[in-house]
Subunit: 622 residues, 2 copies
């Protein structure tokens, strides 16, 4: 039996000596590599926080003390140390452990996350509640340097620094371009700053901090400047700043955390860690191993299945070719150039590509400014992260009719990342915005045409497409405009109309085939435009078939089906029987196809809906 099996909870860590802790760290890394090589997951971030998590759990007393993890994908070590080793193999699986903190899983998960930059806000809340209730526990937020680019983190720092409440922010700084010599300098700075004489020597240190670049000179990212100034910035905002130190020196981190624990008021502890630490393939390619699919643990080789290109890939390719033809096309990412398929665009058009950091609000309003300045900006953000920029889409883009294309990637369920990452609210919240043209393609070929159409259109356009491989269809060589507000009839039929949006249209086609076998003649409509709806066509088929089934990879409330209900009401069409297929409530984690099946987004689900509409009764009786 290894050491890890003997750890039932954080208390068991306190009795270990240095050698045992090192051995435990090794076991933890091995366990994570073994499991994630099969399940996939956020490996590199977790390899980077092994010593930090050990130090946190030896210094603080969970669940009495509160540790809030920003984003939360770096909590695997935390899970292993808080009684979840036996279930660890189920991580990110259907009905298994979550890849993020979950209050239902453990009392040690005090706050759930998934999106970036919330931890300091939550921690100020925990700290203030403790103060009001006269309690005495510690509150710690653990936040990465990337998450510090989100404005919300600044709002929270502003409040925390002013409030003077006792709390600790651990800045887990894993910027990969940190060069080795930085470590030496930072150790020096740390010895100075962590010293009791610190206050007297503050000015000297600040002088040094200004002159000695903590960050290598070639860090060409927006985060760099922010990081460079973090020490000062925190002090200016009312924090005591400790660090930076080597985050893989567990004893040192523990020492600093203990020091922080003893201080009054808000304290920032700056630790430097390395993403992928201890596993060479992940150290070499921390980007790839950030969120990774199954791989060979020996070689680190990713297990790839041959598959058609993804929607994201086709989006990126098409945007590149359109940008070659039109110098006004520019692209914006919020810290996700790879995830949104924009790496090639960034390489080809560095002057026309903007990665603004984890700053969706700024990304969207910045795009509106670019548009009024005469360019054609395309903002590519995941559906779930657009929730961060709702007001900016509404006011800065749509109210003033800015020529902005909102590319909504990862629309629909996304799989193992679960409810914080599913993109199942965008239709409800975006279709109600006046002036916004809102499209969804049935396949990757249509996606190209739609992107072309969006860039031709004068005014704001949104375009939603899923996280998945395409249908494997042939791509047209010449792109054409798809008339705004025009749906497409893919199959004529007189008994029922199936209305699909996005790739669900293909499920409708298969279902129509199945229904045909059972004597039901279904029309299939590819909606194409969620806004404006093709009123004429939809009304025609509603009148013709009297029965409709709508299907969307999205929440039912306020969704596409709801838009069609509104249309029928507005036109005074009564007596049309409708079944809507989609999600009701938050959707669990799990494989996309399994989630679809579980919620009736399948041929079977459509056939069952047809049954509820009484379509087979009629046939049986005939």
């Amino acid at each position: 039996m290894g050491l890890l099996e003997s750890i039932r909870g954080p208390k068991d860590l306190r009795v270990l000596d240095t050698d045992e802790l090192n051995k435990l760290a090794q076991e933890i890394r091995q366990e994570m590599i073994d499991v994630v090589s099969k399940t996939g997951g956020h490996l590199a971030p977790n390899l980077g926080v092994v010593e930090l998590t050990l130090a946190l759990h030896r210094t603080f007393d969970c669940p009495c003390d509160k540790i809030v993890w920003d984003v939360g994908h770096q909590t695997y070590v935390h899970k292993l140390l808080t009684g979840r080793l036996d279930r660890f193999k189920t991580i990110r699986q259907y009905h298994g452990l979550s890849g993020f903190p979950k209050r239902a899983e453990s009392a040690c998960d005090c706050f759930e996350t998934g999106h970036s930059s919330t931890s300091i806000s939550a921690a100020v809340g925990f700290a203030k509640a403790r103060d009001v209730l006269g309690e005495g526990h510690n509150v710690v937020a653990v936040i990465g340097d990337g998450a510090m680019t989100g404005g919300m983190a600044y709002e929270a720092l502003n409040h925390a620094g002013h409030s003077k409440t006792n709390m600790i922010v651990v800045l887990n700084d894993n910027e990969m371009s940190i060069s080795p010599n930085v470590g030496a300098m930072s150790s020096y700075l740390n010895r100075l700053r962590a010293d009791p004489r610190y206050d007297k020597r503050k000015e000297d240190i600040e002088f040094l901090l200004k002159r000695i670049p903590i960050i290598g000179p070639k860090v060409a990212k927006a985060v760099a400047k922010a990081k460079d100034s973090l020490g000062l910035l925190f002090e200016e905002l009312g924090f005591t700043y400790l660090g930076p130190i080597d985050g893989h020196d567990q004893a040192l981190v523990e020492q600093l955390l203990n020091q922080a624990k003893g201080k009054k008021g808000p304290v920032l502890v700056h630790v430097l860690t390395r993403k992928g630490k201890g596993y060479k393939p992940a150290e070499d390619n921390p980007d790839i191993f950030h969120g990774v699919g199954p791989f060979d643990p020996e070689t680190g080789k990713i297990i790839k299945k041959s598959a058609p290109p993804t929607y994201t890939g086709i989006f990126g390719d098409t945007l590149c070719s359109l940008a070659k033809q039109d110098p006004k096309v520019v692209a914006i990412s919020a810290a996700m150039p790879g995830g949104t398929g924009l790496n090639e665009f960034a390489r080809l058009f560095p002057e026309r590509f903007y990665d603004v950091g984890i700053a969706e609000q700024h990304a969207v309003t910045f795009a509106a400014g670019l548009a009024f300045g005469g360019l054609k900006p395309v903002v590519a953000i995941y559906s779930t992260f657009y929730q961060r920029a709702y007001d900016q889409v509404l006011h800065d883009v749509c109210l003033q009719q800015a020529n902005v294309v909102l590319a909504i990637d990862r629309a629909g369920v996304v799989g193992d990342d679960g409810p914080t990452h599913h993109g199942v609210f965008d239709i409800s919240i975006f279709r109600v915005i006046p002036n916004l043209i809102f499209m969804a393609p049935k396949d990757e070929n249509e996606l190209s045409h739609m992107l072309y159409t969006a860039l031709k259109h004068n005014g704001p356009v949104a375009l939603r497409y899923p996280r998945s491989v395409g249908q494997g269809v042939t791509m047209d060589e010449t792109l054409i405009e798809i008339p705004v507000g025009k749906a497409e009839v893919l199959r004529e039929g007189r008994d029922v109309t199936l209305v699909g949006v996005g790739p669900m249209v293909n499920t409708c086609l298969s279902a129509a085939h199945e229904l045909r076998h059972r004597g039901v003649d279904a029309a299939v409509i590819n909606l194409r435009y969620i806004n404006p709806l093709d009123r004429h066509l939809l009304l025609h088929y509603a009148r013709l078939t009297k029965k409709m089934i709508t299907i969307e990879d999205h929440t039912l409330k306020g969704g596409m089906g709801s838009a069609i209900l509104e249309l029928l009401e507005e036109e005074g069409l009564e007596g049309i029987a409708i079944e809507r297929i989609g999600y009701d409530g938050f959707v669990d984690q799990g494989p996309i196809s399994q989630l679809h099946a579980a919620h009736g987004l399948s041929v079977k689900g459509i056939v069952q809906a047809a049954e509820r509409l009484g379509l087979f009764r009629r046939v049986a009786g005939s």
Copy 2:
């Protein structure tokens, strides 16, 4: 004829000498006081930027140069100087000039605003577009110190500082607690910092900045700390910092702006202004004259009509009494303690009240932290500003079932502030969130009971109420819980069911009275719960009357009426004729009653809907 009448555009300002400019400033102030005393409006902020706006328009060349105004309520002077004097009397009136920048009004309004902290983002966009297109104009953002507490401004600074593009941010610092001696110190600092030898003396100045408080020691607000450090913060983020200077010394401001114009890269110009400057009543009460109704221009006395208390007032009063009984009740405001009725709460319970600045995202997640820490937080934010915290409501409060009460003030149209301030999207975007109980009271008495109910409830609750005086009903002395998901039948009827939400219920009652006169027997339902719907009761009346009219002070798409359409579909109820009353598209500015009338939210509108449902035909034929 005064000087102001001779100003047809910014160019006419360039020929004026100092005396003429002073005279013009006086005329501008007089014109604004005269007009706003009749129309109401944002007087104090505009009185504070007279010299700054003159200096901007003498230094920069609109519309070629781009000036982006943050929030935008301080653009009256700008409007007067850019050809809109003749229409100025119509400001904030129905079909009149907007109280905010509007692209349709003038080429000099390059970006529309209304919500805070967007100007730097838009300005970076304009600047980057200029760079890509090889143009050479200037780009200026004008932002207040309050707006700097919004995280989005930080996101934009981060990007601007890194991008090294030429742009100017004018920080209009009108913090009212600035004491006179600060002016002298800041002038000294300015002379030093604006000096060509500045760079060499930077360390000295920074030393001084740290030791000499720019802000009086008693500024007990979160903004204070941020402001205190702004100079350093901007420099750290890659800006050249100029100032602070007296923003009412027009020549000095002009000089500094010209200096900024000549610099490479992003520049911050820090000007100190006084809200209400030049009009004693507004200088003495800048809070009251920030956004003010009609007043006597001679005395500054606000013209008040006797009226029942507002919903906001009742909310604040009720919260205070509930907080007296329960020490766990705490309240959060995002820079709007007065507007949301929390001033008295803040006075009574200073340790349990948190004003976090213009930081809605942080406010909501902070509340979730407070809730998990064991308190009962109530977050009071205007409907339109909740759009800034959608993701936080969804993930941080609702997904993890935090015990947070979301008080949605100013729900429905708000009047003269227009489309950026109307609260007409909250039902659509909040009702689709799983786990969120969503209420709306028909009157101020019910609001009290609902707030009581919300605080008793275990889990997230939203509560929407309008910007207006209450119905003048008697307030119950004892508060009781309103059963979750239970609607109220206010009137029985067999011909049609009127479903109202919020105070629209009272319009339904009046309409039922009117319909009775015309032979139609209408049932009236006070919906109370938008989520969960009272399915049983709604279905009963749908079946009984076969005809329904829904009415909501809200957008039609995805709104309350749409929720009822979904209910009928889910229950397979066909053949129910429904008319939904609400808004379609963005709603103009104007008096609330006029906006209601224009969109059919009136007795007349309901009667017309009844007519469309054929209710009178039947009666006529009988």
